[in-house]
């Protein structure tokens, strides 16, 4: 089975990738594709909140996407399945769905970052759209309920 793990550079997408490894059987998964989507017309085409390291001086969003994909891919190091790193360009939900079709995916893993008002009031979050239109099962990893912050 080919599993697609989507990342938007958020911490939650890293949590989603780790969640997959916490329960899935690597023997049944042949390939994992880590997919990042760059949104060319957005203010910030890709923001990498995952990787340590410096912001490239020329401000390359593509490099930001590459480093986010690297960080997510590292989660699957030594896990078993072949890991592919893929960067696409366009609308996030569309590209994830297209990738799922193209690689004949058996599962798509996405993060749903929100638990607040903006996710429920404003329609069209990426996770929602992927759930609706993906050609295969979708695992939406939600954040844990908010705990009191540690010092």
């Amino acid at each position: 089975m080919h599993v697609i793990v989507a990342t938007d550079g958020s911490r939650q997408s890293l949590a989603a990738a780790k969640h997959l490894t916490s329960f899935a059987d690597p023997a049944k998964i042949t390939d994992v594709s880590v997919v990042a989507v760059i949104r060319p017309l957005a203010s910030v085409a890709f923001a990498d909140d995952l990787s340590e390291g410096t912001w490239p001086a020329a401000g390359s969003f593509r490099e930001a996407a590459e480093s986010a994909v690297e960080t997510i891919a590292a989660v699957f190091d030594g896990w078993g399945p072949t890991v592919h790193k893929r960067i696409r360009s366009g609308s996030a939900a569309n590209e994830i769905i297209k990738a799922a079709q193209q690689y004949d995916a058996g599962l798509v893993v996405v993060a749903a970052g929100g638990r607040g008002l903006s996710d429920s009031v404003l329609v069209g979050s990426t996770a929602q759209r992927v759930q609706h239109y993906a050609p295969c099962p979708v695992l939406v990893v939600r954040p844990k309920p908010r705990k009191p912050r540690k010092a």
Partner: protein, 474 residues
């Protein structure tokens, strides 16, 4: 991808046909949409007032200077395909941090002034549909809505972008059709097209035309935002020269034809006095349709056109702030990305507030008798800042010759670049001479950048920009 951070042993899989999503055609429409909306709907009255019936000459000369500048951008963007644009080129050429900072902040300021001018223009056309609410309120609500739309991410739709550009062009085609019908009817007096008004503020024809170029130049700006999508463009070596230079030439042709049509069909005085000058052409009743209906349709088209261009400016501002925050030049809060929407919401909100303040202050100053109207004032501020940037970009282009060269790079014609440099400086010189007050506004906007810099310098912590932002409950 030569400079990719990916290690050679573990490369990103090659889906080359999927890697980039902006085709040459999309880039062309992106350029065209960006340029066409900024100005001609808003400023044609001012230009007509300065020059007289021959104001098309101002548009023709202005767009020539802009197209040459576009060629310099095309050369640099093929060398350094990054979204950072002018500040990156100047940094490559001069390697001076203060200069790079000045250019970045100038560009941010120009973009904010442009948003203000466009929002005011939006209010003028909106008043044709519904004159109830005060103009200031309309422009503020307009800016607020665009901030929200950008936050949600609707602006990212390539399709919406294309549709808006077509609508935008349709408005100008209507004006041209009216002009052609008018000529066919045999009513046109072509003498108007050579009339230069020297009885007004400008005593010589050359000065009047220069003033016209200066006022119309706002309509030529916007092409520089095309570098926003540089990294995501397929075959940038071909696409950028074609869309930047080609897009400007098409825009120029449209401008010249539209200004001729306007000059022929409506008396120059009427154009000069109107807040929504192109609407006067439609109201002249030359087409066999109800004037009211046509005026309504045209107003809506103008609103779409202005919206399209304003959206791009409002997308650009938080991006600049984000880049500066990541480089530790402004407070790190501007690098904050919304966890779900993935938009730089602090920068976006900040940009909206600054543009809003600009509109409020501008309206108060104008009402207190501060000279020319707000659209023109903010357009002039944009033009002053952008002309200085354009001139420096051309210098950078010439200075970077021989560096980072390879076969595929587009090479702009050197004598033309020199001509473009002289043109930019001449228009800049005239604009500042004609309206020295605009410098106060420029300084005020640059002051915003300075305040942010000082805030980071004294209160910010070093290295926070490059570091991963704090984890918020993930």
């Amino acid at each position: 991808m030569a400079d990719s951070t990916t290690t050679a042993t573990n490369p990103v899989d090659d889906d080359s046909e999927l890697k980039r999503s902006i085709t040459g055609r999309l880039l062309f429409f992106y350029t065209l949409g960006d340029v066409l909306g900024s100005g001609i709907y808003v400023l044609i009255g001012l230009v007509a007032a300065a020059v007289g019936g021959a104001f098309w000459i101002a548009f023709a000369l202005g767009v020539t200077v802009a197209a040459i500048t576009g060629a310099a951008y095309a050369e640099l963007v093929t060398k350094y395909p990054r979204a950072a644009g002018a500040s990156l080129y100047v940094n490559q050429a001069f390697g001076s941090r203060p200069l790079t900072f000045l250019i970045t902040v100038s560009f941010l300021a120009a973009s904010m002034a442009a948003s203000g001018s466009l929002a005011t223009g939006f209010a003028s056309y909106f008043a044709e549909l519904w004159s109830g609410p005060p103009a200031l309120l309309v422009s503020l609500v307009f800016v607020a809505l665009l901030v929200v739309v950008n936050y949600i991410g609707i602006t990212e739709s390539v399709v919406i972008n294309m549709v808006m550009t077509f609508v935008e062009a349709a408005g100008l085609v209507i004006v041209m059709v009216i002009g052609i019908v008018f000529i066919v009817q045999g009513n046109a007096d072509f003498g108007v097209l050579t009339q230069i008004d020297t009885g007004g503020d400008y005593s010589s024809p050359a000065l009047a035309v220069l003033a016209g170029i200066s006022f119309s130049f706002f309509a030529m700006t916007g092409f520089e935002n095309t570098v926003n999508v540089a990294e995501e463009t397929i075959e940038p070596y071909k696409a950028f020269p074609r869309s930047l230079v080609g897009g400007m030439l098409v825009a120029g042709l449209v401008y010249v034809l539209v200004s001729m049509a306007a000059a022929l069909t409506v008396p120059t005085d009427t154009l000069a006095e109107s807040d929504a000058a192109l609407l006067e052409v439609v109201k002249a009743g030359i087409l066999p349709f109800s004037t009211d209906l046509m005026a309504t349709i045209f107003s809506i088209i103008a609103l779409v056109a202005i919206t399209n261009t304003t959206l791009v400016t409002i997308v650009t501002q938080p991006r600049i702030l984000y880049g500066m925050a990541r480089e530790d030049v402004v407070p790190g809060i501007f690098a904050k990305i919304h966890p779900v929407r993935r938009s730089p919401w602090v920068g976006l909100l900040f940009s909206g507030v600054v543009v809003g303040l600009l509109l409020v202050i501008g309206t108060l100053v104008t009402e207190a008798g501060g000279g020319i109207d707000l659209v023109g004032r903010l357009a002039t501020v944009t033009v002053v800042l952008l002309l200085a940037i354009y001139a420096l970009v051309i210098v950078s282009c010439l200075k970077l010759r021989g560096q980072d060269e390879h076969e595929e790079i587009f090479r702009a014609n050197t004598p033309l670049l020199v001509l473009g440099l002289v043109g930019n400086l001449a228009i800049l010189g005239f604009t500042v001479y004609d309206d020295p007050h605009s410098l106060i506004w420029c300084a005020g906007l640059l002051g915003v950048g300075l305040v942010l810099f000082l805030a980071e310098h004294f209160f910010g912590s070093r290295g926070t920009g490059a570091r991963t932002p704090d984890l918020e409950g993930a």
